[in-house]
């Protein structure tokens, strides 16, 4: 199956262009250095998954309007801010095929630029009196940092069970995707139950997105991904493929693998752990769970009347669950 994101989002091509214009305008600054970095960020071609979800959710519930673009700009700014901070903390040298902000301008400027975009995004909502959007996104930003910190805390003790894993990915990834769908819907309708449905759609789609991400770390190809597989294992980060394999093996074997991940060098443990995961169905189980969350997502919008937008959202969920990069 070959899912092309550009083809999927074709039905909202014009609106996406409109969003890009609004985003470009909102990123302008009178401080030359900020403006320079903003232009650089705009030249990094991201997948724009979050703004697309805002637009599609709005269109499914009503008409895309000025408020939709404000919401899309808000979430894309917050997302950009967190990516910049992520690259600082991971000391990542590239982002979207270009050098990262910290690689070009150093950590100090990157942290400040992230803080700037965070407050700039919130102000964008405040200036337009979109307090509801603000509440939705602030809660998402809080959950994102909570999720990341919970993941670090749990991984330190090498004690991540499946339930905790799902809580972590719900907080760190699904929270913002949920916010996207909720904001998009709320921008176009006052129908609370439809807004709630889109929010639940986002939660499941967001979890599927992260499951796919964690799977790709074990089965992805460097050429396509832009990063080498196994980076989670290298960081001793427990994700579902490994968690399931551990749950699905004998106590003795499970203990051995945890010890190997904990104390062994990555180069030494890599092949053993990869084989262990395959042997205990860690890959299939993660694929199955991803498919389940994709189905749950789609079920949330099943009662909306048939339309090109609905079809696009369904294709979008399929893309999330089956993407290769």
């Amino acid at each position: 199956m070959d899912l092309d994101l550009r083809k999927i989002s074709e039905p909202i091509k014009d609106e996406l262009d409109e969003f890009k214009k609004a985003f470009r305008l909102a990123m302008k600054s009178k401080v030359a250095l900020i403006d320079l970095i903003s232009k650089y960020i705009l030249s990094q071609k991201g997948k724009k998954i979050r703004p697309i979800l805002v637009l599609l959710s709005a269109k499914l519930c009503g008409e895309i309007n000025e408020r939709t673009y404000i919401g899309a700009t808000l979430v894309e700014m917050l997302h950009t801010a967190t990516l910049i901070h992520d690259d600082v903390v991971d000391d990542a040298k590239t982002r979207r095929g270009l050098a990262s902000i910290n690689a070009v301008w150093k950590n100090k400027i990157a942290v400040l630029m992230g803080d700037y975009l965070l407050s700039r995004g919130l102000l964008h909502a405040l200036e337009n009196n979109e307090y509801n959007f603000l509440q939705i996104t602030s809660r998402a930003v809080k959950r994102m940092s909570e999720g990341e910190l919970l993941q670090i805390q749990k991984n330190r003790k090498l004690a991540v069970d499946e339930e905790t894993y799902f809580r972590i990915i719900s907080d760190k990834t699904a929270s913002l995707i949920t916010a996207c769908c909720e904001i998009g819907a709320a921008s176009a309708t006052d129908n609370k139950s439809n807004v709630a449905l889109l929010s639940e759609f986002g939660e499941s789609a967001g979890i599927a997105f992260q499951l796919r991400d964690d799977l790709l770390d074990y089965v992805g190809k460097k050429k396509i991904m832009g990063k080498s597989a196994g980076s989670d294992l290298k960081e001793k980060k427990f994700t579902l493929p490994l968690i399931h394999a551990l749950n699905n093996s004998s106590k003795r074997e499970s203990k051995e693998i945890v010890n190997l991940v904990k104390n062994g060098s990555y180069s030494k443990s890599k092949n053993i752990v990869f084989d262990f995961i395959k042997e205990h169905n860690g890959i299939e189980y993660t694929e199955q769970k991803t498919a389940e969350f994709c189905e749950t997502a789609k079920s949330k919008i099943i009662n909306f009347k048939p339309s090109e937008t609905k079809e696009t959202l369904v294709n979008f969920v399929d893309f999330i669950g089956e993407r290769v990069n």
Copy 2:
């Protein structure tokens, strides 16, 4: 003159204790790692200048109330977040006499904790429907990062004139202090002209605060300051003592000094630049400017009726302008 901050804030001792209780409660988290770091932050004894200003501004304009504590908690959280990020970007090992968050938990956790506190602070205002406080503080956070980035941009070209310098310190420091006074006042009165007066009071007091900080970097004692003098010069950061001396010397001499700062090693240039600043009245000029801004601050509250609170605010401004650490 011996100004003791604790003595100055004696008249609001009970309210400050009340604030500390509220702040401690707001810092609690269900994520164990966040809670642990929060407790560590609470054990670092800061001067609490910003919450004190919120409380005093409220008391000057009316009565300290629930909204005042919400505002004080909001600004202290944002301030704490920026300090944590500052320590990451400056690779600082200590803060308030204890090891910094990045020194104890590494950069990744420190950046995430800063982001968490930023969103937590904003949510604290949102949950209490304090949209006005939110607008005031988001604008301040934006100006803070803008000011820092403008400073970096200008220092790179070694082209900081006095006007730009004042714009930078207004954005990076005075903005949050202005927000403190404005929020405090707005929590206690609907009188717009009084709120505006307190905002202007904060702006001048904030500029005086940063002027004093920049002066102390040239004349402070390590034992008192907790950091060695000359760190701005070491980072090739142009502050008023040096800017004034450059403006006040011959073109030839000025060029020589800029070249020395730009290309010379710090150990080689330090004594020459310190002498140059003294010779061209950089220290006196900065002291004079600090005193001017302190006077402007005090003039903003001159028409409030005499009270212990008014006296305390005046003493507070004197403390800001004459503090030795």
